[in-house]
């Protein structure tokens, strides 16, 4: 028997806030978290802007920023859920960015002739592959003893982590899941690599205007960093213990484009298949969707194809359903994107508002949906569709429902 799945805890570390309250305030106010790159000298790159988290080396326990992001977000989410630690039946479903290493590490390694570092801690963190650290640290610190799931489907991974955790609670495999994602690619190989393939915006000045999903001027995404964690548990168990239920997760599906490496399927077939799959999994039709939390990267192809796929999904209602893209404010958090954006959607469900898509000032004729551009829009929603479409054609969608159902 399938169990209903409640979201009872939220935690965020993002470019627009280091906690859920701060994130919510800036999200609804349309505040941009994009600025000049400060984490390294980006002068040699075509892209010199990013959405950085306002935490500096002195604030961090680990060399790898994403590990700290994950630990902080997890602590907030569990605190929010009123849970001190997991216990039997509790597991992780975590999306991790797996960028290779920081160039500082590589340069340091070069200086010592590529010999091994000597200190035990440095041996674990130097040139690390992050899941070596992040997963066991989360599992041990918060006592999540069931086999952890690590999702690495790039830009879709955050939604995949949420969907995997949802499936495990629904099926009875887990009684508690901490699901989410953490990433930081704002380093020379990360930002440089995306710049090399012309995936990132070069509209460096002013930085806050660069991420403009669905706008005619869009020229690439703005790289962000951060983490979000969500506590998932059986709805009835959450209600029985008196937990605050932020939302329900009702459906999840994935698909491949199986098309070309450097572009989404031109008709949006893969995206459409994932969206329809998530709705089918939720047991609802497209007529029940009240808002769409778009992938909305601000890349020329994604936004056009996502628009097309949404038209195919929603049919006659396509121009009536509000669509918004949070990446306009905090950029693309890659593996963490789906998790942070799911938190954004849940905050909208709870407050009866849809967060804005900022910087959409010159409409693209090929992007003609009802994008929320005027600021946060009052709009009661029962069901929201949240999309993540990965580079390489991996598509993941979740359906979220307001905790108290229809009004």
């Amino acid at each position: 028997m399938k169990r209903r799945v409640a979201v009872t805890g939220l935690g965020v570390v993002s470019p627009i806030g280091l906690s859920v309250p701060e994130f919510r305030e800036n999200l609804m106010a349309g505040v941009s978290g994009v600025g000049p790159v400060t984490l390294f000298d980006a002068d040699m790159l075509p892209t010199r802007i990013a959405a950085e988290v306002a935490l500096h080396a002195a604030d961090l326990e680990y060399r790898d920023r994403k590990v700290d992001f994950a630990l902080r977000a997890a602590a907030e989410a569990l605190r929010d859920a009123g849970i001190e630690k997991g216990g039997p039946g509790a597991g992780l479903a975590i999306a991790l960015g797996l960028e290779l290493f920081s160039l500082d590490d590589l340069a340091a390694l070069s200086r010592i002739g590529f010999e091994l570092p000597t200190a035990a801690r440095d041996r674990m963190t130097f040139l690390q592959t992050p899941s070596d650290l992040c997963i066991p640290l989360l599992a041990r610190r918060f006592h999540f003893p069931e086999p952890p799931m690590t999702l690495i489907s790039a830009c879709a991974a955050g939604t995949d982590a949420l969907g995997t955790g949802f499936s495990m609670v629904r099926d009875g495999r887990r009684d508690l899941v901490l699901a989410g994602g953490a990433d930081s690619m704002i380093n020379p190989p990360g930002l440089g690599g995306f710049s090399k393939i012309m995936a990132t915006s070069v509209r460096n000045d002013p930085p806050a205007d660069a991420s403009c999903p669905f706008d005619l001027r869009r020229d690439g995404f703005v790289l962000g960093e951060g983490a979000a964690m969500l506590v998932l548990e059986p709805f009835e168990a959450a209600r029985a213990r008196g937990a605050t239920i932020h939302a329900e997760i009702k459906g999840y599906a994935t698909s491949f484009d199986a098309d070309r490496i450097s572009r989404p399927h031109p008709e949006g077939d893969g995206a459409l298949r994932a969206m329809r799959g998530a709705l089918a999994d939720a047991g609802i039709g497209p007529d029940r969707i009240d808002a769409v939390n778009a992938h909305g990267t601000s890349t020329p192809l994604n936004d056009k194809v996502e628009t097309l796929a949404l038209k195919r999904l929603l049919g006659d209602r396509a121009h009536e359903v509000p669509v918004s893209a949070a990446k306009s404010m905090f950029g693309h958090l890659i593996a963490a994107a789906g998790a942070v954006e799911a938190v954004a959607a849940i905050l909208g469900l709870k407050s009866g508002r849809v967060h804005p898509t900022i910087n959409l000032e010159e409409p693209d004729p090929e992007c003609d949906l009802d994008y929320v551009t005027e600021g946060a829009r009052p709009h009661e929603q029962e069901f929201v569709l949240s999309n993540s479409f990965g580079f390489g054609g991996q598509n993941a969608c979740v359906v979220l429902r307001r905790a108290d159902g229809p009004r």
Partner: protein, 277 residues
């Protein structure tokens, strides 16, 4: 604990296994993915990890009698990707500055690219589960595939793993971690099994279970160990195949009863039994 037992008629059936392995010291050999490419121009985007994944999947699909037509939306892909490979020359190019970096490097380093190449080459448009980085995660991928088949979400699953370990970064990683591994023992490998929902002819999964022990990665790193027995006798792989060890063993054994135990360096304990007719 995730645990699946039993041999009811509805159990999944292994209808094809494909593998490719490059033993320790054979780093110069390269598998040829070209016969399997749907878009020949995409060859330039492929690193060795992608090549291994496509060749292993192609051979598994052929072995299952499925070659030719796109596999479509009723086929899912459940894939484990090993540690991200990085050659010394690429590291040097990064240090030399932005202008020296090959743009294709980005494609070769993204962990989801092997899954992309398999999906594109064989027309897989169904669901996926892409995880990382070691042999325990193959059990998790296998478990996800079995559940998707049992739930009727898919008709067949490709379950596999790919590792490119004979390179600068992964060798460095294995030298520096707790309980280090000699680079001379590392293999490159890809291995994929095709599962369909039973009843039917093929191999069967008689037992499959996995548990996890939370640990301190600094002060209490688990000691890794892995064993294989075929019809009761010890069996060894030619080197350390990481995430691909179990499917590679299935491919190399080909026939018989395979018993696998694993205590992974990331804290998992797993055990499984397979019967390959």
């Amino acid at each position: 604990m995730d645990e699946i037992h039993g041999t009811t008629p509805a159990d999944p059936v292994i209808t094809g296994i494909g593998h490719v392995a490059i033993g320790p010291g054979d780093a110069g050999e390269r598998p040829d993915p070209v016969p399997f490419l749907r878009h020949k121009k995409e060859r330039k985007y492929m690193g060795r990890q992608d090549e291994l994944a496509v060749v292993a999947a192609g051979r598994a699909i052929q072995a299952a009698g499925l070659a030719g037509e796109p596999l479509g939306a009723r086929t899912g892909l459940y894939l484990v990707v090993g540690f991200i490979p990085f050659e010394r020359a690429d590291a040097d190019s990064l240090l030399a500055g932005y202008d020296e970096v090959n743009p294709l490097l980005t494609f070769r380093c993204l962990p989801n690219m092997p899954a992309y190449h398999i999906s594109a080459c064989f027309g897989i448009t169904g669901p996926y589960f892409v995880t990382y980085p070691g042999p325990a995660q193959f059990h998790l991928a296998l478990d996800e595939a079995i559940r998707a088949l049992a739930a009727g979400r898919i008709d067949r699953a490709l379950v596999g793993a790919v590792v490119h370990q004979q390179n600068f970064l992964v060798e460095h990683h294995h030298r520096r971690i707790a309980h280090p591994v000699s680079p001379n023992t590392l293999m490159d490998a890809g291995a994929v099994i095709v599962l369909t929902q039973g009843p039917g002819e093929g191999g069967s999964i008689r037992e499959h279970k996995i548990t996890y022990r939370p640990h301190d990665p600094f002060d209490d790193p688990p000691v890794p160990s892995e064993t294989f027995r075929v019809d009761g006798a010890p069996f060894s792989l030619p080197g350390i195949a990481g995430a691909a060890s179990l499917p590679l063993a299935l491919g190399l054994v080909g026939r018989g009863n395979l018993h696998h135990t694993l205590s992974s360096r990331d804290g998992f304990l797993a055990e499984s039994r397979f019967v390959l007719p």
